[in-house]
Assembly symmetry: C2
Homo-oligomer: 698 residues x 2
């Protein structure tokens, strides 16, 4: 038994949150909640982190989120979450399609970019590295953040806060216990010692065969997971695939690319390049369709889940023919069955939540599962934080978790069904995506229009950027109650707005005035649990009267900043203080800066930073001096001829300005004009889900 | 005494190279030589790495070099050299000039970009982090590379290969000892145990008061360093500056920027932002001119080198007035005297070499010393490698070290004199660099034309990109002997060429065909001791006959690839094998790929990679399959309307193609046409300094 499995440190009796499962989703939950200052108990039934294989693809939107989570300085020389993964992984920027042709047993029939250029992201690729590297990056970062927890939130725990190996037994809620309504029982897998802890919340991210799901669904072991209150909807297919991370030597030209290979009669393979093995040898992941030759009765037979590695390799060699395929060391081998299933509910009582594979299972080949699972927890964590800090109404905010994330999972399953079908048939003709259409046609490709549309839509979804949220209290879309019933028309998403509510903020570069650094606006506020109010003030001179009115609005007791404040004693939304500065603010009577930890403000002017001075801005603006920018950077997607690229990209006029509200998870919640109408609309937006006491002394 | 100073591990008796001094220059030497497989003894008289302060600015060209050195995978989660430093440091992208004006005691009179846009670099900023972080990044990377050394080159050593604290005593050369002509004596600073080791080379990078320099110059302790064969030319001035890394609070608006502040009568300050202290507090570096108030005789008095921290802080407060300046913790404080001195020789016998501060000292304020010092060693190491591997003539190649690097140091001293003068006078008016000239003039600025020219020239130099080399055997400039005497005119740097021989290769993005990754061409071959032959083949179809001729040329016994090979037994120029691949090359009789470890080949076609296939290229081309590219990426500096941006930027016609020879240190050595004339010119170029036995069996 390895040393780490020893039950040296025992969990305490009470926690804010219990997390069951320490895969990527559980790690994300732990990281976010620790950052928000929660006391977290995290258990997993595996003795160590993943050692090889499993999930391996990080999509552009997930990388954007990981970059936004950022890093707290820890061990010298260790990179933070996103950079560490990027340093270790390999990038897939293209997909090749290989099929039998008239004159060749196997030929490259088309290619398509993995993340087409129309998707506006910082990292236009899928990053591949194995799940263990991902988990360990999280655990190191969690450990670093635990150092910042206040004493009453920091319980002793192993490195990275995960207690292993602990088997979950059951959990329940008792509404009469107002402080710790949740009770959870589990036992140490080796010593069998049983423990019961109490908590405010429990998160079940313990995978496709979730024991938490079974516990709350009311089902019993043996009666099927679909018998209780929470049902897994959908079916497993009878198609079996083998998957292996393996060293290969081959004369197949595209072995360094992602490939979809369809053989004439031996089935299909997906090739995924992988980061080097610890030995330094390059690995390749192969998804191999396990289809047996015709049986004695003439029918095609499928291998069962007991198909061996050798059968899988033999099949791979047949599909690759006429190319040679030599195998070296196998780092990981597994067999799985395709299916698409989704949980009927993500929670029953807003105390015990499910997420990740516990709520959605599907084919692994699109590289979506881990991404959507991590983002489930990323999406839930800030909502729990707002509720627990006393600024949001739980009965309004918490149901948006299931509503938003189940919607995304449903899209995922639809996509996965399409993708699986695509993969079992012939590959599409898509080199017209990189060359021009005429040439593609000349090569005998099918008419590309339809396929491009289909491909685009799916690429947008698989990049993670297409995980869109629908109208609710957080997303002031035209069809939302808020906007429908609002007394003035045309205030939300005013004419010209190009940002889409319920989608992530589009990236763009600006110049930070305080140090003239060229920075990415969407990464300027790191994950801190706060709403990000982007004031695109437009032209500096024109904006002066409105800035003055805005300053007064922010000071008034009737503004959202002062109406909605966390319960007393809460000075920060996270465990680091992000308003420390080396700057002495010119005094203004005896007033302190009017910071509200749940709102962060960014100001962007259309003019170069050399044309104005931070010191001349109104008080409530200049106290955010490190978040004041000039919109004077070149953006390829906007073009050289347009001044103020970010204003243009967001569809905000430089004459009028505009305010973009971005939720703590990076989604655009509302766009309003930069004028008194807009200020009032912000109040109305936040009134929809925030509560909290007004600041005492204004 | 800290544990690390214990003389647990004793140096052995014989090494390939002894390095004296483990500052950034010594670390660079160790890193490069270890990569090249040398057995290195590295000593330093300090008990640990730098703990605070000292050099702190890494310039764009140095970052380019550090990126090129790359990383070998070592401890999980640790970033490589360049990324690690970038993760830890802060970026200076602008300089502000503050002066007294008619109506203000101190006002921002102008601004200028730290690295103006006309300089074509990946990292257009100065990266600031303290010397200890830099040294430790190097030591970790050296340790990782030592793991790859063959047994006979790997002597036991402390982490990072530096023996501490060892005091150098003396060294000498004895030509009669053909294997180990160098002898060096030193002693352990604590135990006083004396050691004498023998080596092939000794590198003295032991700082401004170099004991190695004294030993080989023939001077004696006490008779002044300028009495021997190597003299330090130049003078120290009597101007004293204090420098401190300190936590401050201030209402000075530009504290996050680099600033040059001239007060009316209290002297000058340079403000340099710094990375956060280990405490998390932001640090600032202040260079403070220590000028006393007028003495009783009415004359201005300067403080001596004994000026205290308090005097320095008091002076700083006066210069900052009317802004407030409150001091927190001081991380580092020192006092220095401005001077510009350069060594008359860098070596006497091509066995013992000097570099870094041992050869050039000057004001630290331009952030040049450490950069040029590191690059001294970067420049020397590959030359030693070629000589020791038996492929280059030492009597031709080694003298180019002093010739090239002394030239750069002379430029540095000229610049430093200019810069020091600038800094002691009033600041230039330069907001015209970021705004337009008319506006600047309207604000009362002086005529900008002259200043911009001067500023540009210096920014080019201080970025490191302006460290240009002159005509010699390595740099086939028009005025070089090679080109002057060459039998055909117009072959070297053919008409249209935009790359400048003796300057670094300009960066550019291309698409790597093998995996469709968008990559930076200048970073595609990592430091491996080899010449990089960039074949810009132009249009794929047009290039076919020339590619065939090139393939035959590379096979012929009269081509440089076969004429100049290392001594037998040398299979690689570095300790990693960089030709490992997962690809099985289609067989071609019994022939092995014709790799020569001292030449690397890159192929760039003007057409998208979807329009051609690696498999259809000639054998000698396609064996470099991971270095075959499409020139189809957008380059802002070339524009949207030009196809094949890299061809255009380098001035290579897509109809004719061209060959760009880049030296192992990233400098352009020669540009020739992609035709038979060009092939012969390559032979002539390499004949100028390479030797080595022809490959036995061709």
């Amino acid at each position: 038994m390895p040393a780490v499995t020893k039950a040296d440190i025992r969990p305490e009796a009470e926690y804010d949150v219990v997390i069951v499962g320490a895969g990527p989703a559980g790690c994300m939950a732990d990281l976010c909640l620790t950052t928000f200052g929660f006391k977290v108990l995290h258990i997993d039934n595996r003795p160590t982190t993943t050692e090889a294989g499993r999930a391996d693809g990080i999509q552009p939107r997930t990388l954007e989120v990981l970059r936004n989570i950022h890093a707290v300085p820890y061990e010298e020389g260790k990179a933070g979450l996103a950079k560490r993964m990027i340093n270790q992984g390999v990038r897939v920027q293209e997909v090749s399609f290989w099929d039998p042709t008239e004159d060749k047993e196997l030929a490259r029939t088309s290619r398509a970019p993995s993340c087409p250029d129309f998707i506006d992201v910082e990292d236009p690729y899928t990053l591949l590295l194995h799940q263990g590297l991902i988990e360990r990056s999280f655990l190191d970062e969690i450990e670093a953040r635990r150092a910042h927890l206040p004493a009453d939130k920091k319980a002793p725990a192993p490195h990275g806060n995960v207690f292993r190996p602990y088997e979950f037994e059951t959990c329940s809620t008792d509404a009469s216990n107002s402080q710790y309504p949740v009770s959870a029982t589990f036992h140490h897998a080796d010593t069998k010692e049983q423990l019961t802890v109490r908590a405010k919340y429990l998160l079940g991210v313990d995978g496709a065969r979730s024991l938490v799901r079974r516990a709350i669904s009311g089902g019993q072991v043996g009666d099927g997971e679909w018998q209780g209150k929470i049902r897994m909807l959908g079916d497993a297919s009878d198609i079996i695939w083998g998957v292996m991370d393996v060293e290969v030597k081959t004369d197949f030209p595209d072995i360094m690319s992602k490939c979809l290979i369809h053989s004439r009669s031996s089935g299909s393979i997906m090739v995924i390049p992988r980061e080097n093995a610890p030995t330094g040898q390059p690995l390749v992941r192969l998804y191999v369709q396990l289809q047996s030759d015709a049986g004695p009765d003439g029918k095609q037979q499928h291998y069962g889940r007991d198909a061996s590695e050798d059968i899988c390799k033999e099949r791979a060699r047949k599909i690759f023919a006429p190319f040679k395929l030599e195998f070296g060391h196998t780092a990981w081998f597994s067999v799985y069955q395709i299916g698409q299933r989704i949980a009927s509910n993500y929670t029953l009582d807003q105390r015990i939540f499910l997420g990740g594979d516990a709520t959605h299972t599907h084919s692994p080949k699109a590289g979506q599962g881990m991404n959507i699972s991590m983002l489930d927890m990323y999406s839930l964590a800030w909502k729990l934080n707002m509720v627990e800090k006393g600024i949001a109404d739980p009965s309004i905010l918490l149901p948006t978790y299931e509503q938003e994330r189940k919607g995304v999972a449903e899209e995922l399953l639809k996509f996965d069904k399409f993708y699986s079908t695509l993969f079992s048939g012939r590959s599409p003709q898509s080199d017209q995506l990189t060359a021009d259409a005429t040439k593609a046609k000349a090569k005998g490709a099918v008419d590309p229009e339809l396929f491009i549309e289909t491909f685009k839509k799916n690429a947008f979804f698989t990049s993670g950027c297409g995980a869109v949220y629908f109208a609710n209290c957080l997303n002031a879309l035209p069809e939302s109650d808020l906007v429908q019933k609002y007394h003035k028309k045309g205030v939300f998403s005013p004419e010209g707005t190009k940002l889409v509510i319920g989608q992530r903020l589009l990236p763009g570069k600006v110049t930070r005035a305080v140090d003239a650094n060229r920075v990415r606006i969407q990464q300027e506020v790191k994950m801190n649990g706060a709403f990000r109010i982007h004031v695109l003030a437009g032209d500096h001179a024109t904006a002066q009267p409105t800035l003055k009115a805005w300053d007064q609005f922010l000071d008034s007791s009737a503004s959202f900043v002062n109406l909605y404040r966390p319960r007393s004693g809460v000075k920060s939304a996270i465990v680091f203080n992000d308003h420390e500065s080396r700057h002495i603010e010119p005094e203004r009577g005896t007033r302190e800066p009017n910071y509200n930890p749940f709102f962060d403000f960014l100001y962007v002017f259309a003019n170069a930073h050399t044309e104005w001075d931070i010191e001349d801005l109104p008080y409530n603006v200049r106290i955010y001096r490190e978040h004041i920018y000039a919109d004077d950077q070149f953006d390829r997607r906007v073009g050289k001829d347009v001044k103020a690229s970010l204003h243009a990209k967001y569809g905000v006029s430089t004459e009028k300005g505009g305010i973009v509200v971005v939720r703590p998870d990076g989604y655009v919640g509302a766009v309003v004009p930069f004028n008194q109408d807009g200020f009032e609309a912000l109040n109305a937006y936040f009134a929809g889900f925030l509560t909290g006491s007004q600041k005492a002394s204004l």
